[in-house]
Symmetry: C2
Subunit: 306 residues, 2 copies
């Protein structure tokens, strides 16, 4: 199953020409989840030739503008381009009024169904779930209510061993039950154990998106062992006081969460506009957690390479 | 007096990577007026190195998103960058609620005074006026209520002839009254006519911004003889029916208004995203009005060269 993340923006509140505000696109087996949607996200999607009509679910972490000012433009363009399939938005409840007011001001009635799912304020609740993936709400510690999102593939089904199913003449319509772990009973009543016919699949991918947040050790348990942790690193470590005042984290704090949670890879982002060159942020974070990467617009992270 | 217009965006509702939605910056003697503010305008201002803290007045034609979705981002960034001087927004009244709701959702109290001036729905009312310029409201004919804006320098003051004022020993503190047309009476009671001491200045600049609008001949009188008419030309002339349906104009219709109003120069814009190459739009418009230019992001129009 493919599991790929494209970074569309990685700036903090004040955008720079070459760093759009926060937005990411997660592709889980050709289903597309948009995570945050700062101003200009629709243009970023076009720039990287990502067809935004394939997005059916939009997750918004919180209602600071650099995380959602692009939503209204995106959903309006989807409408103008003739979308008719459902769109789901998961965000704090005030966003619904903001969207409704703007649609009303332009006399727009969307020609597709828009479902709004207010984010609960309790920890760990599941926001979205289907056969392949579930998305949980992580309550972050910011200056206004703010959610992180944990995307987890469900336990991968078992993998058929073609040679064995041919040898035992298992009919094709039994493949799904084999993948679910069932044994096979042939016409003579003999039981062929599932372990002979299948093998364990790769472990499910897990991605935790955590911005904006103060350094908060309670996050460690929630993101334990994920393949990729995106954690904000708005400031270098000398500005720790400024980070505390503004509800943000430093490079070393992001590294500390990654190290304690034993994640596979850390991606930092949400850089303050004061940093023109990001090398210092990367080097500093790597001192605390070696396997760190910088996010930047256009970066594609394929989880199979993590 | 300098009078210069920078085009920041010229796309219609669906933005393209290389054509932001509508926004323009008018510089009248180093005072800056922003006209419309589509999504991404703050980035366009940065791209062209225009200091947006110098903007004190924002005019919004109507509440279709491609003309205002960038306002909230811009005023938020002004706040984050420490602005403390007044900002004035002139727009239809619903925009105030939209802005207030978004500021409230992020617990933001702007650290500068924001004055909202609802646009009247009657023709020709003066929206803004100071010693040098006045801005009038032009009611356009679109699918929702929509205003054009006419920027007019006031009659330029007369120009001092340095050699003559020296010859007649006119004191320095009389210069302003000479510029206003007064004669000079010297200590002997002799009257020196203003026409000896000053000369007529260049004629005042006039700029009419007209988007979005159907073809409407009532516009002709309102924009008569302006130096520059910006008139939308969303469609080529073969799509006249589509233009009528959507409340827009074609190339030849824009040309017709310019010709009938005897304007000096016509700039077209608000191009439909279906046109990749804009040459056809230009050539077609020029058939109806020769002195036509294409607007495009980054174009600087200096009125002294029109």
């Amino acid at each position: 199953m493919s599991f790929k993340l494209t970074i569309l923006g990685c700036s903090s509140a004040i955008p720079k020409i070459d760093r759009n505000p926060t937005a990411q696109l997660l592709n889980v087996n050709e289903r597309f989840f948009l995570i945050d949607c700062g101003e200009g996200t629709q243009i970023q999607l076009r720039r990287y030739e990502l067809n935004f009509q394939r997005i059916n679910h939009i997750f918004i972490s919180h209602l600071h503008g650099d995380h959602y000012f692009g939503v209204i433009g995106l959903i309006t363009t989807m409408h103008l381009l003739g979308r008719n399939k459902d769109l789901h938005i998961y965000a704090h409840k005030e966003l619904k009024d903001i969207i409704d007011l703007q649609l009303s001001a332009s006399n727009t009635e969307l020609n597709y169904p828009l479902f709004f799912h207010p984010l609960a304020e309790d920890e760990g609740s599941i926001i979205f779930e289907d056969d392949d993936i579930k998305v949980s709400n992580l309550i972050l510690n910011h200056s206004i209510k703010c959610s992180g999102f944990l995307f987890e593939e469900k336990r991968s089904k078992r993998k058929i061993i073609n040679l064995e199913v041919e040898k035992y003449n298992v009919p094709y319509d039994k493949m799904n039950s084999l993948k679910d772990g069932a044994d096979w009973i042939n016409s003579k009543g003999e039981i062929i154990s599932n372990e002979i016919l299948t093998t364990q699949n790769t472990s499910p991918n897990r991605y935790a998106f955590c911005t904006d947040t103060k350094y908060d050790e309670s996050l460690v348990e929630k993101v334990k062992g994920v393949d990729l942790l995106y954690h904000e690193a708005t400031f270098t470590s000398d500005l720790e006081l400024r980070a505390i005042e503004t509800g943000h984290s430093t490079t070393l704090q992001a590294a500390s969460i990654a190290r304690k949670a034993k994640v596979k890879t850390l991606a930092i982002g949400h850089y303050s506009q004061r940093y023109r060159d990001l090398d210092k942020l990367l080097t500093q974070t790597q001192k605390g957690f070696k396997n760190t990467i910088l996010s930047y617009p256009g970066l594609l992270i394929d989880f199979k390479h993590l």
